[in-house]
Amino acid sequence: MNILLSPEDLAFQAEVRAFIATHLTDEMRRGQRLTTSAFTEQAVFGGWQRALHARGWGAPAWPAEHGGPGWTPMQRYIFEMESALAGCPQLLPMGLNMVAPVIMRYGTPAQQTHYLPRILSGADYWCQGYSEPEAGSDLARLKTRARRDGDAYVVSGSKIWTSHAHHANRMFALVRTADTPRPQDGISFLLLDMASPGISIRPITTLGGDHEVNQVFFDEVRVPVSGLVGAENKGWTCAKYLLEFERGGGFRAPRLRRQLGDLRQLIDSAPQFDRARHDPQIRARLSAIEIDIDALTILQLRVLADVQAGRNPGAVSSLIKLCVTGVRQALTSLAVDALGQDALLWEPTRPLYRLAGDPGLPPEILAVMPGYLDARASSLTGGTAEIQHDIIARLVLGLP
């Protein structure tokens, strides 16, 4: 067991740090810090994505044949860790990490040639059409229908909680193409153009005051059959593939560590935290969070060791995701408690990094309550905490 980086990895780490020092601006860092919603706005990440793409680092997880940098798992980890610790903007996962792997695995050469470069460059902006008003955790019971009509599918129905649908020019969606005894067997994976006639979008405001998610309505939307990925009625397989592709990746502990560092800095310096700064209970909660971040880092490094050695990390990855959610919610909750009464003063302007004039309190303080409220969604997105518990009970603990 060895905790030290090799000379090659140390050199790579230095290279990443030098790149960040050159290309990460204060404005980008500030914009990311003041992002309380799950995903970052293009105004914050756009410049950073362009710089990464110019360097050939736009898609760390992609294989080299499709434009990835050909990094080892350890190099991917180092890159994600350094980016997170430096407070770099987070790129959107919908194109780069969700639809792209499916297109690589199940798409036709024509689809790969057309879509992948546009995802890599950021020319296409993707959203994910999965959840529906009647199908959240029970996603297989989705009802948005795609009826075959000549060389097109005609799509009717509705998707909800669609992040950034109001910005996106493309959507990948799970749609029903057949009514089957097992609902999963009648689902297809379809790529849509968001400019198609018949698509309308209703914004949804979250508890944190952000417009990030939407409801999307499809009224007889014609989608060319060339938008079908994989075989008809085999879309559920594509969706499940994503979970396998993600396994072992996604090192979230460094991002939490950065957020804890930002909170510590705020508590140590802002006058609004004068009372909390020396409160033993606040300090104990800070320590407890840091201890869990250290523990999560160890767990993720052990997963990395398995991935590097070609071993399947197993179901511990689902445990890690659940722990990460817990820490994120504990962190945002602590920030509110430490701020106390001042956390009740609400600033409605969004995004917060565009706040002009004198808002009375610094934006970092105004972001505390929205940050806590938006973090309530962490235990719901990508599978609710309760579903995760069910999965872990079956797959990790072997319960009947």
Binding site: N2, L4, L319, I392, L397, L399, P400
Partner: protein, 358 residues
Amino acid sequence: MDLAFSDEQNMLADMAGRYLAGQPAGSWPDFCQMGWTGLLVPEGHGGSGLTLVDAGIVAAACGAARMTAPLLETAVLGVRLILGLGRPDQQGAWLPALCRGDLRLAPALCEPGGPDPLSSTCRAARQGDGWQISGQKTLVAGGASADLFLLQARDVATGRLQVFAVPATAPGLTRRPGQGVDGRPVDRLDLDGVPVPASAMLDAQPDAAAGVQSALDAMLTAMCFEAAGAMEALLQATIDYTKTRRQFGRALAENQVLRHKMVQMKLHIELARAAALHAALADGTPDQSRAASGAKARMASAALVVGETAVQLHGGNGVTDELSVGLYFKRLLALRLQFGGPDHHLARHGDLTAGVAA
């Protein structure tokens, strides 16, 4: 960087598990022969020269088996006190004998006043060429078979903490046998002007505080590994019980609430074990103390949740002394509180963090 266990470490875990499965109480001669007493002793002194991670692997196996002999007290706390504070002649006299089992020693650092050995109220006064030591010690494990007690006391003249090797037969030393909540023999020691020669002080350093802290850090970390092993065994026992026990026409394990409680137990165990590994990897680095307190705090909170939940899920049988569940629970309570519980160590982690920031 590779955080997978090495082949040797996997073999160590495997061998320890199989030995203790056949003989949960262990035997001291076996421990010596397998190299467990000398895990952290350098090879030059007859030991295996292994790391705190390796000691943790053995500790976890001991926790899973509820091995009750004071192995960690000797092999981790005692050895690290000697290595950190002992003069070369003391190391040469004690370490090889300890490895062979010819010498039995018992650290006696806990005092009734509080969990922090560095706040000792035991007094050491110079008397001629030697010292007289007075005060009280508590929760001393291995006292019945000890040849030597390693204990700390404060030099009344300088205020500095020092560590002394006090023979079990020393005049003025009274051992009061007792029992811990976990059923293990733990003694109180009353020291009433116990005379020790100057040579009995472990004085490789002018002030023993840092050495005591460092040895304690290693012990805290080893205890966290023991607890992780115990918690994992307790979870497995709970899974087995709930799959077997049937009420209302189905196994307890088919009830979602209970399944989720067992998942919560697993989360606590994984985080506590990872915190212990983090602390073991920090051994010998500037982050050692902070990581050790972090691990102890995390283990303490996990131990309570895991222990209480296991008892609860075993129903009526869980609150008797008839099942191993209760025995694991009580051992976890001891590990949780000895040398400081969660509040103490969270505060210490916070103080050390502030010190780092400053």
